[in-house]
Subunit: 253 residues, 2 copies
């Protein structure tokens, strides 16, 4: 997931598997909804259904956090909300900067899901001088020149990159140099960061391409009754393009 540098020992943190960590926010969301409806307890079966996972997996996930359930009853909703929040580090405030206030950056600044879970947008940063001072989501945009000062003054350790691809690595380098150790990257680029810095990437285009792959597969399977042919079939002739020697089928950026 986290496409940091080349490799990493899977970041198996304090015994909690990475896969489990990735699901904790899911559980937290479901639990928060239950909490709002004043539901006192919930069984692993119910909660798993709400979170869209297998109940055994959920129980094993929780077992990494400790024994927080009561056999025959289930889990105390409020208690579990607190424990997961604490485990995820959401009991403290995380100041976040967003760099690159274009369409996406502005949308992120306006996104309510950040502020509601311990994340506070400390600053919006853009390279365009014309943007400076203009308020977005009630926060005045600051110029890239002040990036280092903003980071240190606010004690920011999490940065969000929403710049064009070309600027991402440079922005990333400056963020890291200024003390940021976690980066959420929306730019369609592979970022290089030193050890100790976490990078997670969100790529809208990649997600669509994965969907397209499965979509194509469905369509093809439907057309030719799914034969028992293992592979190497419907390869060359499946699409319109004829021979394969030299194909100028280059896609634009």
């Amino acid at each position: 997931m986290a496409t940091g540098r080349t490799h990493r020992p899977a970041t198996r943190s304090r015994g909690i598997p990475e896969a489990t960590v990735a699901r904790l926010p899911l559980y937290l969301r479901a639990l928060t909804a239950l909490s709002e409806r004043s539901v006192p307890t919930v069984s692993s079966e119910e909660l798993a259904a709400a979170a869209g996972v297998n109940s055994a997996k959920l129980r094993k996930d929780f077992s990494y956090l400790g024994s927080y359930g009561t056999r025959g009853v289930g889990y105390d909703v409020e208690y579990l909300v607190y424990q997961i929040s604490r485990e995820l580090g959401l009991t403290q405030d995380w100041p976040v900067v967003i760099v690159g206030i274009g369409n996406l950056g502005a949308a992120l600044a306006n996104y309510g899901g950040f502020a509601s879970r311990g994340f506070r947008v400390a600053a919006l940063i853009d390279a365009d001088p014309a943007m400076a001072g203009k308020p977005v989501a009630g926060i005045p945009v600051q110029h890239t020149d002040d990036l280092e000062k903003i980071i240190t003054d606010n004690g920011v350790s999490i940065g969000v990159i929403a710049t064009p691809a070309g600027a991402a690595q440079q922005v990333c380098d400056r963020l890291v140099a200024a003390g940021v150790t976690s980066i959420l990257n929306f730019a369609p680029t592979v970022l290089s960061v030193p050890d100790g810095v976490d990078v997670r990437k969100v790529d809208l285009s990649i997600e669509l391409q994965i969907l397209a792959f499965h979509e194509q597969r469905k369509a093809g399977e439907e057309a030719s009754g799914e034969a028992a042919v293992p592979a190497a079939v419907t390869r060359e002739e499946s699409t319109d393009q004829g021979p394969d020697g030299e194909h100028p089928a280059v896609m634009p950026a």
Copy 2:
């Protein structure tokens, strides 16, 4: 990944592992960049570095597609671009609808990465009557009432949901009923879909929470010199909050 319903046989499509499919867009992007620089061939080592993965992994990934390399030389860039594009189904046009034209929906509509890879924004749909007719990214917004007609008229099979969480499931149901079989969900909810429909979700808040977890871990590890204690330590006393009996530390939505 794809949080469809309860389970699914891992969607092991035609022998190509899901993990490999998820990396193909990454390779494609790196290859496209090389193609623009008119680089004729590339070795697995070079390409792997550009894509941020292990070279052995890359070679194994390509081996699922076929033997497209030349030993002692490497891979033909143009040829590989074409092969991957075809495998991902990007040689054809995919009309896409975006439902929910708020900040995020508008940003997605303006996002260049879609149009450039075979994806065409066929329509923008919003439930707000005031939005109807208003152009966003050069495309007039249409009202939800016409959703079904829009889907069928344009032959849309991929839908993007960027509505508030409360409306997502309902929109999803209507999309599916109208014939959509792939959904990219930006709403912070678990969607239930019938078998045969793929759902991929992108949750900005979850990504940040995962980063916060690691960030907290770094901070804690730094404070208490990372002892060789295997686990079950620095549990209770790690954070400020003292005992754990009944904690009203509930987070807002």
